[in-house]
């Protein structure tokens, strides 16, 4: 008998921070196929086969109740439990926060390094930002700082830069695109899409380029003829374009800025945008949010008052972006239990830590040494409903369950551990 077929429309894709919500996905039995819209990444993720998976203790199959009980044992004995990875939906993070608050844990997302390159600037000086629909409709100049976003945010150009119509004109808006960053590996500019003025510059030399650009925007003289390998004439031309644009947008992926002191470059971009807004409009667009980084940070903030890298070890929430970094807590051995959460993509367990580990992740997750406990969970937006935030931190979208799945959600798994611990406390 042929498997039952359903066509889902306007499906939200949870596989990068753009959270495109225009996919059409067909379900046949438990197989999903992207029929309209989407990109290579969304196809790879939605179409991955549904794997059989059972919970494990020390690599041996078990049932959910036993895995939950074992996880509760580990956490009960822990002085400083660490909740990391945190690739989960809003409800998953709510459950994590409740448990971490109860048992004095620390929460940190795998994408936090990049997050804080940006957040520190919000906290130190603030910024002027915009959101995807504003970019789509109002932007007349896009400056990309860093890599061309096709790899990390595959449909950014299609959805936000090259719409057929905008609120300001029925024809495609004429837009200038400039990129300051390393040349694409094949030497070309953008592989496809609109023409781009490229100002090639190594990633680690972006601080110099951005600083020079800010000087030029403010009509200060530069003695050099070249900065960071870019002819000053090119930067001057860009400065002129930014000043004459009506709604410029400066986009970067903080994850690309892997050099030391990268937040200072974000700071300089923010200051540049503030300078420009004295006479025209210009706004920042941080390209971010994959694995619901923004949503997880939002939940952490509204519940604890702090962004990620917050701990509850002393009863009150405390935040420190260095002290509570997951990597540091594992490297120093301060964390004595790890709960690693990764519900969106099939990934490998990145931390080979010595501490007892509970992995709550998609069935295809791989590791070198089996964790103490493995609880396979469904992917929000495929196996169960949920919600996430888009990169711009404004739009929160509902994720649908596209097929039946026997797997629990992160929220369910964590809540069961929480309930087990609470019951023990009462007993």
């Amino acid at each position: 008998m042929a498997a039952e077929r359903t066509l889902w429309r306007d499906v939200v894709c949870p596989f990068c921070g753009l959270a495109c919500d225009d996919l059409a996905i067909e379900r046949e039995g438990d197989r999903l196929s992207v029929r309209e819209a989407g990109c290579a990444r969304s196809r790879a993720q939605f179409e991955r086969p549904q794997r059989e998976a059972e919970p494990q203790i020390d690599g041996n199959a078990t049932d959910l109740a036993s895995a939950v009980a074992r996880a509760a044992d580990l956490l009960q004995d822990s002085r400083l439990p660490l909740f990391a990875g945190l690739a989960t939906d809003v409800d998953g993070m709510r459950a994590v926060m409740q448990l971490a608050d109860r048992i004095g844990g620390v929460v940190d997302h795998a994408g936090s390094d990049a997050l804080f390159r940006n957040l520190r600037i919000l906290q130190d000086s603030g910024w002027i930002t915009t959101t995807l629909s504003e970019v789509r409709n109002r932007m007349d100049l896009l400056l990309i700082v860093g890599h061309w976003p096709e790899e990390a945010f595959p449909r950014f150009i299609e959805r936000c830069v090259e719409p057929e119509q905008t609120l300001s004109s029925d024809a495609p808006l004429v837009r200038q695109i400039v990129r300051v960053g390393p040349p694409a590996p094949d030497g070309s500019a953008a592989k496809s899409g609109p023409p781009v003025l490229e100002l090639p510059c190594a990633i680690e030399r972006l601080p110099e380029a951005v600083a020079a650009l800010r000087c030029l925007v403010n009509e200060q003289q530069l003695a050099a003829s070249e900065v960071a390998g870019i002819p000053v004439a090119g930067l001057r031309e860009l400065a002129e374009r930014l000043r004459s644009a009506r709604y410029g947008v400066i986009a970067w992926a903080a994850a690309d800025l892997t050099f030391a002191g990268a937040e200072l470059t974000v700071q300089a971009l923010s200051a540049l945008v503030q300078d420009l807004n004295r006479t025209t409009r210009c706004a920042l667009l941080p390209l971010t949010g994959t694995d619901n980084l923004i949503g997880v940070n939002q939940v952490c903030t509204w519940q604890s008052g702090y962004p990620l890298r917050t701990g509850f070890g002393r009863g009150i929430p405390e935040h420190d972006l260095h002290l509570f970094s997951a990597q540091r807590l594992l490297d120093t051995g301060e964390a004595d239990a790890l709960v690693w959460i990764s519900a969106f993509r099939e990934a490998s367990l990145p931390v080979a830590s010595g501490v007892p580990t509970v992995v709550i992740a998609t069935p295809g997750t791989t590791w070198t040494n089996p964790p103490a406990v493995f609880i396979p969970v469904g992917t929000p937006g495929m196996d169960h409903k949920g919600s996430l935030f888009r990169m711009d931190s404004v739009v929160m979208l509902r994720l649908a369950a596209l097929r039946d799945s026997p797997l629990p959600s992160v929220a369910t798994a964590i809540s069961q551990i929480d309930a087990a611990l609470a019951a023990r406390k009462e007993a």
Binding site: Q123, G126, T131, W302, S304, P307, G315, S387, V394
Partner: protein, 556 residues
């Protein structure tokens, strides 16, 4: 179900005309029930002989959740470092004085005898997020006002000469799609104009690109709310907030509503004249006079109280302009989704500063000069004027003339001299405070079974020991009941409950979804179906029980 008797309290319940008479109250199944008569089995009697009994208080305008508030929390981590609250098994941990976390927001309101608070500036594109935060806000009822008036869809409609009927349908659709209880307008047209680089927008200035004046926007939306039969009038944050001389804009805006009901929010920030050496003066007397003779207008104040806070507003045009006053020196603005915007600017109100001191006096002047307590609500525009936790202090300022005059002596002396406050004799009575903080907001929002203590009312009840020091009295009520359950004792939370979310469900022509869907598909980055917040997702977690309020249409 259990029958609880609150015995011997003095009932202050203006909605039912009761002013302190001693009587028993009976609660069953979360509501106030009639005296069951002699011989009825009372499960529990709480002796409150001689204590003051009021309905739970209602904050009609308090920014307690959603995008800009969470940005403010993130930005102001110093607030959380200073003010951390430990969890205790019952309560979750959290903190923050002027950017409190969601759980702490609920606890503090409840401990203070408040049982409802309304988030007054929900950007439609951010609706799901706002509701998610409110779903994590325990203890109190809540509701949101959807912000329109700078959204490109409406401005296109107005620019294309759309019929009022279509505007009504759009407003009705939007309130339903965002699960809102009222309509908010912030700097009509101005947030949109700022995206086109306009730095101000006068009431009669055509906006850039669309050529629509704020006056036209106010008129169209006031009419839409009225014709849809939504109880609460357009909740309006006027153009020119904070600008000296803006009181004339405020008066002009009242005219723009063409006699239809209008709520002017945080009026204090819109009551400035240009007299005196510093070209900054109080226009409270002039405005109060206009309001006193315009019964279609209600107001809330946005009282400031000195100290550090953070301003969070949808008004990007004004927040951008005010960034140079940021304290500490950091601020943000965001253009949002062809919908609205937000700006967060930390601020410290200083009593030695002339402008700040006069702002303080202007708020109090308005509260004391607007005569009808049914048309003025007690707000600090939390956190913009001060955190909501200053309400007991503010109530004392209204009820205690001596205290008020002592405070007046401590502020900038030029401001004190410029203000008429010292000469105002009025002292609010407990009865009037109960109107301001309970009966009037409930009536204005259409919460028929809240804000009073009549039979059938929801048993949201606050019991106070009467004290001469009104601040002490209102800060720590003896008992607070929510839906008939005791939730706080002597200013401490004793039980955790989850309040309801209030929404309106006006009737409108679903045909509006045709043009809307086309608009979303062509211009937006979210599909219409994904934008809409459904009842199912609201009630999913069992925390956001919906209370749907009827609308009475005035036209077919």
């Amino acid at each position: 179900m259990t029958l609880v008797k609150l015995a011997g309290g003095r009932i202050v319940d203006p909605a039912n005309g009761r002013n302190g008479d001693a009587a028993d109250l009976y609660l069953r199944d979360g509501v106030i029930v009639p005296d069951p008569g002699p011989g009825a089995a009372i499960d529990e009697t709480v002796d409150i002989t001689g204590k003051i009994v009021m309905a739970g208080a209602i904050d009609i305008h308090s920014h307690i959740g959603g995008g800009k508030i969470n940005i403010a929390r993130m930005m102001m981590i110093e607030d959380h470092r200073k003010h951390a609250d430990a969890g205790d098994g019952l309560r979750r941990s959290g903190g923050g004085l002027y950017t409190p976390t969601t759980f702490v927001t609920g606890y503090r309101y409840a401990a203070m005898g408040y049982t409802a608070a309304f988030e007054p500036a929900m950007v439609p594109a951010n609706a799901r997020h706002a509701h998610a935060e409110l779903a994590d806000t325990p203890m109190i009822d809540k509701g949101c006002y959807a912000m329109l008036g700078s959204d490109d869809f409406l401005l296109r409609m107005l620019a294309n000469g759309a019929e009022q009927q279509a505007i009504n349908d759009y407003v009705g659709w939007m309130l339903q799609a965002t699960q809102s209880v009222a309509l908010k307008v912030v700097n009509p047209g101005g947030i949109n104009a700022f995206k086109f680089n306009a730095r101000n927008l006068g009431l009669d200035t055509p906006s850039p690109h669309y050529g629509v004046t704020p006056r036209r926007i106010v008129a169209a939306l006031a009419r839409a709310v009225n014709e849809l039969g939504i109880c609460h009038p357009v909740h309006l944050h006027c153009n020119d907030l904070g600008v000296p001389g803006n009181w004339e804009t405020t008066v002009g805006t009242i005219d723009a509503a063409e006699g239809l009901p209008l709520h002017l929010t945080h009026l204090q920030f819109h009551s400035y004249g240009t007299e005196g050496d510093r070209k900054f003066s109080s226009a409270a007397a002039q405005l109060a006079e206009v309001i006193n003779r315009t019964p279609s207008v209600s107001v809330d104040i946005g009282q400031i109280i000195f100290g550090q806070t953070v301003t969070a507003s949808g008004d990007t045009m004004i927040q951008y302009r005010n960034h140079r006053h940021a304290h500490p020196k950091k601020w943000m603005c965001m253009d949002i989704e062809c919908d609205a915007g937000c700006g967060v600017v930390p601020f410290r109100y200083r009593d030695e500063n002339f402008v700040n001191a006069l702002q303080w006096a202007i708020g109090l002047e308005l509260l004391l000069l607007v005569e009808d307590p049914w048309r003025v609500f007690l707000t600090t525009d939390h956190p913009n004027g001060a955190p909501f936790t200053v309400y007991p202090h503010l109530i004392r300022l209204l009820m205690d003339r001596g205290f008020r005059r002592d405070m007046l002596k401590t502020i900038n002396k030029h401001a004190a001299a410029a203000s008429t406050l010292g000469g105002i004799e009025r002292e609010y009575s407990l009865y009037e405070i109960a109107i301001l903080t309970r009966a009037a907001p409930a009536r204005s929002l259409g919460l028929l079974d809240r804000g009073h203590l009549g039979v059938g009312a929801v048993a949201d009840i606050t019991v106070y020991t009467e004290r001469e020091n009104r601040e002490a009295m209102f800060a720590r009520p003896d008992y607070v009941f929510k839906d008939g359950r005791l939730i706080a004792r002597n200013g401490e939370v004793t039980d955790i409950v989850w309040g309801a979310t209030h929404v309106v469900r006006p009737e409108f022509d679903q045909g509006i979804e045709g043009p809307l869907e086309d608009y979303f598909n062509r211009f937006q980055t979210v599909r219409l179906g994904n934008f809409r917040v459904t009842d199912d997702e609201m009630e999913d977690e069992g925390r956001s029980r919906l209370v749907r309020h009827p609308c009475r249409r005035t036209t077919p």
